[in-house]
């Protein structure tokens, strides 16, 4: 069964303390991997799309990378406003129209 697995489930960082979130996937024939941010009670917010191993995308303090087996979301010098749940998703291999499998997410808390 296709799976997207994220770790850790929760991460607490002090402001300025860099770290990485992991997303591993067993989706065969992966056609892209996607990162979203979700604040409590709100809809997920699209962050990045990664299509091929070695690809990197950056946005402010976030950088997403992709290997053949996993993706990392690196957070450099985080601030309290980066606190959120970060979701990784992959498309269903049988779907050509965008059905996404989401991981359970990493709940990030950045304290001042």
């Amino acid at each position: 069964e296709d799976q997207v697995t994220q770790s850790p489930e929760a991460l607490r960082l002090q402001e300025g303390e860099s770290s990485s979130l992991n997303c591993s996937y067993t989706v065969s024939g992966l056609r892209g991997l996607f990162w979203y941010r979700q604040d409590p009670g709100k809809g997920p917010e699209f962050l990045f799309t990664l299509y091929s191993a070695g690809e990197e995308k950056e946005k402010e303090r976030l950088k997403a990378t992709l290997t053949k087996k996993e993706s990392f979301l690196h957070i450099t010098a985080p601030k309290p406003e980066d606190s959120a749940t970060y979701l990784c998703a992959g498309p269903d291999r049988g779907s050509t129209l965008g059905r996404l499998y989401f991981g359970r997410g990493t709940q990030l808390t950045v304290w001042p």
């Binding site: 056609r31 991997l33 809809g43 799309t49 965008g98 059905r99």
Partner: protein, 114 residues
């Protein structure tokens, strides 16, 4: 920039009642998706529409139905509601030329079934 609009934002229903959730996608987005997110859970895909036709179906109960109208807005109809249907329901939209996973989510409708 315009975002996905969902209404209502909150809905309280009793068991066995019916609910209708509405979604207005971002203008010029031709694909609409519906997801259900239970407390502490990841979003689960329900159903999607492309150009007003159902394009994909996930773990959507037979009690639920959905459609997309000529103005591209979509409605999720839920009948014979059960306590387990209590969740956040998200609608997302995407333009076909931006890739499958670049979906823009609305603020969600929080459905509570009592």
């Amino acid at each position: 920039a315009a975002g996905v609009i969902q209404s209502p934002r909150h809905l309280i229903k009793e068991k066995r009642e019916t609910a209708t959730l509405k979604c207005y996608p971002i203008p010029r987005h031709d694909t609409v998706y519906w997801y259900q997110q239970g407390p502490g859970q990841d979003p689960q895909f329900l159903i999607s529409f492309y150009e007003k036709m159902q394009s994909d179906k996930g773990s959507i109960p037979d009690r639920f139905s959905a459609q997309q109208f000529s103005d591209y807005h979509s409605e999720l109809n839920m009948s014979s509601l059960e306590l387990g249907d209590s969740a956040l329901y998200f609608c997302a939209s995407s333009p076909r030329d931006r890739g499958l996973g670049e979906q823009y989510f609305g603020p969600g409708t929080r459905l509570t079934v009592t």
